[in-house]
């Protein structure tokens, strides 16, 4: 169960200036605003200049799914996974797509994948030989389920993944902190295999009606399978289109799906460039807005927290003549 913390006495003082008035509602109702009509100023309680504290039991097995393809599951897996590694946690990312493997491409590790889970099951190699360690961040490892042309028996696909997760927990160098499973698109056998060992899920969606309908269906299936801790990341958010009322806002999406918000990632052309380079977005210096959003989402994932407010673009206020001189 997610720990609900807004204020912690161990942490540093709040970030926003003290001129902003205190919101009594957030202190009494830990997670949600009880009276939505009162628009009091939002205080951020997330502290990005400290290492996040791991909540929940180790290892945290998280499946990243969506239903609809192309919404950004693999991008989210790569960037959130590397963000977790940068925070100092040991991460194993599993590409559970049986036929179309591309997490290795996003991470730039495609030339180093020699063995997959199929070879481990067949006895061609051990599990530690199939894990590919990232040279940039040594506490991040990649495990691919299969090569494109190999067959994985569907009868025990889910069981095989459970064995793998269990073997990772009991390995000599210690259990990883996070096991992130990149789920394939659809609700077919690949989806069933990928969600088998997970105990929490991140649902990635975009603010369009087709993705939302699929996301709702997937959420229902996850709940039927016993996964209750489901959080949402809204990807490819265009604040200008939301301002022009051409796109649903993040709050509209939340209202439709009824899920806690883990992150809202703005549309960024740097995503495509980072994919081409095999260099995830979060490693860019200086960071881009989308990269910062992924980092913040990873931060909330670690602490099992959710977003309390979203940013809505507004018209810039008109400046007077003297504002040019710094007024």
């Amino acid at each position: 169960m997610a720990s609900l913390r807004l204020f912690s006495t161990n942490h540093q003082s709040l970030l926003l200036p003290s001129s902003l008035s205190h919101n009594p509602l957030t202190s009494s109702s830990p997670r949600f605003v009880k009276n939505p009509i009162r628009r009091s100023p939002i205080r951020s309680v997330l502290q990005f200049n400290r290492k996040p504290e791991l909540a929940g039991e180790k290892p945290r097995i998280v499946v990243i799914t969506s239903g609809k393809g192309g919404v950004g599951k693999t991008t989210t897996t790569a960037n959130v996974g590397l963000s977790l590694a940068r925070y100092g946690f040991s991460v194993v990312a599993i590409d559970a797509d049986l036929g179309l493997r591309n997490l290795d491409l996003l991470l730039g590790l495609e030339n180093r994948v020699n063995y997959t889970c199929v070879e481990v099951i067949n006895g061609d190699c051990r599990l530690d030989q199939a894990l590919v360690r990232d040279k940039r961040w040594s506490n991040f490892e990649l495990l691919c389920i299969s090569k494109p042309r190999s067959k994985l028996p569907m009868g025990f696909g889910g069981k095989a993944l459970e064995w793998l997760v269990d073997a990772l927990k009991t390995r000599p160098e210690g259990s990883p902190d996070f096991i992130i499973i990149d789920c394939p698109a659809g609700i077919d056998a690949g989806f069933i295999t990928a969600i088998t060992p997970a105990n929490e899920a991140i649902l990635v969606t975009t603010p369009d009606i087709t993705a939302l309908r699929d996301a709702d269906r997937v959420t229902g299936l996850l709940e039927c399978d016993g996964i209750r801790d489901i959080k949402m990341i809204v990807n490819r958010v265009r604040t200008d289109m939301i301002k022009g009322e051409d796109m649903m806002s993040v709050l509209d999406v939340q209202e439709m799906l009824g899920l806690s918000l883990l992150g809202a990632i703005p549309e960024d052309s740097e995503v495509i460039r980072s994919t081409n380079r095999g260099f995830p977005l979060v490693l860019n210096k200086p960071p881009t807005l989308a990269g910062l959003a992924f980092e913040q989402a990873a931060w909330r994932l670690v602490e099992q927290d959710s977003m309390k407010a979203v940013m809505v673009e507004e018209e810039p206020k008109k400046r007077g003549f003297f504002s040019f001189f710094g007024g």
């Binding site: 970030l15 926003l16 200036p17 001129s19 902003l20 949600f32 605003v33 939505p36 951020s44 990005f48 200049n49 590694a85 940068r86 925070y87 481990v120 099951i121 067949n122 006895g123 061609d124 190699c125 051990r126 599990l127 040279k135 940039r136 040594s138 506490n139 067959k151 028996p153 569907m154 009868g155 025990f156 889910g158 064995w163 073997a167 056998a189 069933i192 709702d216 269906r217 229902g220 709940e223 039927c224 399978d225 709050l251 939340q254 209202e255 009824g258 899920l259 806690s260 807005l289 910062l292 980092e295 959710s306 309390k308 407010a309 979203v310 940013m311 809505v312 673009e313 507004e314 206020k317």
Partner: protein, 352 residues
């Protein structure tokens, strides 16, 4: 040629008229166009023609101008450089005049432009000087910031290329970027809780999802989506086993490209392979052992073949002729027979 000259003269008049809209007359005193070119000889060309340029649209009457010009008896002397040799012949003078005309039509616009731009050159110079000053200040600031870094640290080694950067050494650097809400580039509006970031203004809108609404959504989904995890996978044509929930059966098409219902590997063996922590993986070991056995079998077969064919070994089976050597030969024969027969000799000894 004459038409070109007239056109050039016309254009000259037009240009000059745009300046002052007044009748321009080349003064009666000397008008000198000096132009020094390489490979040219200075030739003084004198002409008795009075060169008058009249602006278009002038209010004065043309007759009056013509009258005025006719009264002037002064000569116009022009000194130009021409490429030809000095010559005062009439044909040469005509050529030189035509050249002179062409030069007049080309030169004044340049002079005109230069005179026009003389006022702007000061501003251009000021802009250039300002940009040079800014660049110098910026370079100074960069150098100063570099000097402020502590000297002799690992960062210097990385900068000099002696050491790999922290990222590539596998050292995880803790994230320590500034809080976006304290970042000077992020401006917070004190009154309306707006944030200015990357040139855009954002307002913080609170999340409005309540726990009650979340529960309502969960109930809606549980009613809409009824699903059970499949535990039995059957091919088309297979019969359904008894006492099995039909919701847990999954039908697999026969031509599914990436899956098979028949497991090629024993499930227990697969589990053992996954849990193996050290040593040679099962299949590699099995293949290695199989290869070893095959090699041994081949070697044994070769030995047998070699023993039956080799002539040198055949001598061991020969009976010795001499008595002294008879016993030795018997012993040798016995030994060889033992080697060949193996168990049979041991059986014989057992029998005896």
């Amino acid at each position: 040629m004459a038409s070109i000259d007239s056109l050039q003269l016309h254009s000259l008049c037009n240009v000059q008229s745009s300046i002052g809209k007044a009748k321009l007359r080349i003064p009666s005193n000397l008008v000198v166009f000096r132009r020094r070119l390489e490979n040219l000889k200075w030739v003084q060309v004198e002409t008795n023609r009075r060169f008058v340029c009249r602006a278009i649209g002038d209010s004065s009457t043309p007759d009056e101008d013509i009258q005025n010009t006719q009264n002037d008896n002064d000569d116009v002397v022009v000194v130009v450089g021409v490429a030809t040799t000095e010559s005062n012949t009439p044909s040469d003078s005509e050529n030189s005049v035509s050249r002179f005309r062409s030069m007049i039509t080309t030169l004044p616009p340049v002079v005109f432009v230069m005179k026009k731009c003389s006022g702007n050159s000061i501003w251009i110079g000021i802009c250039i000087a300002a940009s040079v000053l800014v660049a110098a200040l910026r370079a100074y600031a960069v150098i100063k910031s570099r000097d402020n870094q502590p000297a002799g640290s690992v960062a210097d080694l990385v900068r000099r290329g002696q050491l790999r950067s922290g990222d590539r050494r596998g050292i995880s650097k803790s994230l320590n970027y500034e809080d976006p809400f304290n970042n000077p580039f992020v401006k917070l509006d004190k009154g309306n809780s707006t944030v200015e970031m990357c040139g855009k203004v954002y307002r913080l809108a609170p999340v409005t999802l309540t726990e009650k609404e979340q529960t309502i959504h969960q109930k809606r989904r549980s009613r809409a989506y009824q699903w059970k995890r499949p535990t039995i996978f059957l091919k088309e044509g297979d019969s359904i086993p008894p006492d099995v929930d039909p919701d847990t059966i999954r039908w697999i098409p026969a031509n599914h490209p990436f899956a098979t219902t028949v497991s090629d590997i024993d499930q227990d063996l697969a589990q053992t392979n996954v849990y193996q922590k050290q040593g040679v993986p099962f299949r590699i070991r099995a293949e290695h052992e199989a290869m070893q056995k095959k090699l041994e079998a081949l070697q044994n077969e070769e030995k047998l073949n070699n023993l039956s064919i080799d002539s040198q070994n055949a001598r061991e089976f020969q009976r010795p002729y001499k008595l002294g050597t008879k016993l030795e030969g018997e012993n040798i024969q016995k030994n060889s027979q033992d080697n060949v027969t193996g168990n049979s000799s041991s059986e014989e000894t057992h029998k005896t």
